[in-house]
Structures are given as C-alpha cells and as structure tokens.
Symmetry: C2
Subunit: 179 residues, 2 copies
C-alpha cells in the first residue's frame, strides 16, 4: 500500500509552512501554471495544501479556446461559477457501467452549476474566440480524481489521479507501508 | 429540545422540491434579497437548502457603502473572494474570553482570504463611494452563526442565529421534542 502525506505549501510552489502566509492575498499574485495541460491556467485561490483548509478549496481556472478538462469524476461536491467566456458542460450519471452519451449544457457568464457527487463530467471551452474563466469550489480536499479516456470507458477502468496535478509539488514522497 | 428540519427549496423562495431545478442557472435570475439587513443584497448561488448540497455552499453578497456583516463566528470554514469594491475585514481569535480589539485588514478587488474556524470576524464596506461585492464559500451547511453585539462580549454570551436569515424560509416549523 502506498500512502501520501501532504505538507502545507506557500504560493511560490516550494511547499514551506503556511505560518506567516498573509491572510489577505491578491489572486493575481498567486502561483499560476498550466501544470502541463495545454490551454489551462490554474490558480489555487484557497487550498488545503496551501493554507491547511480541511473542508473546502477554491480554484480560478482559465481555459483557452478549444481546451477542456479531462472526462472525470470525484466523490466530493463541486460548484462552478462562470466569470468570463462561454462553453459546454458535459455530464453523465454514474448509475450505469459506463458514463455513456453525456448531457450537454451551455454555460456563459454568470452561469452557476454543481456536479452531483460521482457524476462524470467535462468542462469544454467550445467558444473559438474567447477564454473561459471559472471559479471552482470543491469539498473535502485534497481532491481524488478518476479520469476516463472516453465516455464509453467503464467506471471501474477510470484511472485515479492523486494527487491532482497542482497538488503534486506539495506532497511528500510516498511512504511504502510494508503491511 | 428544539429540532429544526429543513426541506430543499427552489429559487423562488417557496421551498418546493429541487427535483427539476435547472442544473445550469443564471445567478442574476436567482432570488436576491436583503433579508431585512440594511445595505445587504444576498444571493445563495449554491446552497444546501436550495440544491441539497451537504458539504459546500456559495453566496454572492453585495454591501452598500457603510454596511457590514454582524460581528460573528461559526465553526465551519469560510473563504472570501472580493469581486468588486473595497472594505475592511476585522478579525479576532477565539483564544481568550472575548474577541477583544480585532486585527484590521484592507480588502480590494481580487483579494481572497479565509476565516480560521471559530475566529470572530466582520466584513465592512468602509468605502463611501462604491458597493463591495464578495463571493463567499462555506463548508458544512447550513451555517450556524453566533452573533456578538460588540468586540468585548464574552464568547459564551454570543447569540446563536440558526437558521441564518436567508435559510429561514426553507426550514420547517421547529419540532418540540418532549424529551
């Protein structure tokens, strides 16, 4: 069994203690990165790894035209608020063996929606001319995400990505439990 | 003992079932009210009473110049993102018998901050010329708030306000438990 231990980080990505971290921070001065995902800008606005939060986490994410999240699910609650741009939310239930053809929902500025726990979803900037910017709220951080290669993949075949891309640098080396 | 039971509501304030509630909603079309608090506009963007969320809740709140929250505390986590305007965050720890003189923090657009669990706080639009608009995220809804009349009031004297103003209409009549 592999265990991950995480340690609080700061906004410079060096994961030192959050003691002394300023209480009021300017989001535009926080760490922003694509984490290797084309077209993505991710900022952890308030995070479990950054600030020691245990129950909620907030992200500011910007998707360039054509870019999107992976098809994925997680067992936490998630709320989106669309700040800029427009796009498409794809959503499928977890009630069957695989997600199947998802519902499509148009999203635009001032849209808000939540993802039912464990429903499979993808957010896609389907607007060719404008960035899509969303504020994302999740419960029970750090998030454990299961990623699908397509909508026909069985739920049991979805691949766990933990820690998620932007949490990786603040995790200690995994401990190998001999038991 | 008094028990509160809540029932899911919709965005018209009539607290009917959220079955059939649209998944993607426009925030500007959601219920907005002052709930009797001068200078406040509150919108529950995603809520436990509105949508059945159990772990997170999001509010959009606008404070007219000079208006503010009560001095209060709660045992959930809370994250703020300042969207417009500026103001002052007052914050005091819960480590002593009463809050005492609070720290003062200036907040402005793009500011984010979180309130440590049970710390006593107040957000004040101290800008005479502009509304202050914040997105507020809380964990473990529905929130139970303890309100202080001033910063010298002992923590034990702070008054429980539950359900909070905007949750009242979605609570059933309290049940009186004969035991």
């Amino acid at each position: 069994m592999v265990k991950f231990i995480y340690r609080p980080g700061n906004n410079n990505g060096d994961c030192s203690s959050f003691v002394g971290f300023p209480l009021v921070r300017n989001i535009s001065e926080l760490q922003q990165d694509s984490y290797g995902i084309g077209g993505l800008s991710h900022i952890t606005v308030a995070g479990s790894l950054l600030l020691g939060l245990k129950e909620v986490e907030a992200w500011l994410e910007t998707f360039a035209p054509g870019s999107r999240t992976p098809i994925h699910r997680h067992s936490c609650e998630e709320v989106f608020v669309v700040l800029k741009g427009s796009g498409t939310l794809y959503l499928a239930s977890s009630a069957h063996k695989s997600p199947g053809k998802p519902e499509e929902h148009f999203i635009s500025p001032n849209s808000t929606f939540h993802i039912p726990v464990n429903d499979v979803h993808q957010v896609w900037n389907s607007n060719a001319h404008e960035d899509l910017q969303v504020l994302v709220i999740i419960s029970r951080p750090p998030v454990k995400v299961f990623i699908y290669s397509d909508w026909s993949m069985p739920h049991t075949a979805a691949k766990l990505k933990f820690p998620i891309f932007w949490d990786e640098q603040c995790f200690e080396e995994p401990l190998h439990d001999e038991l």
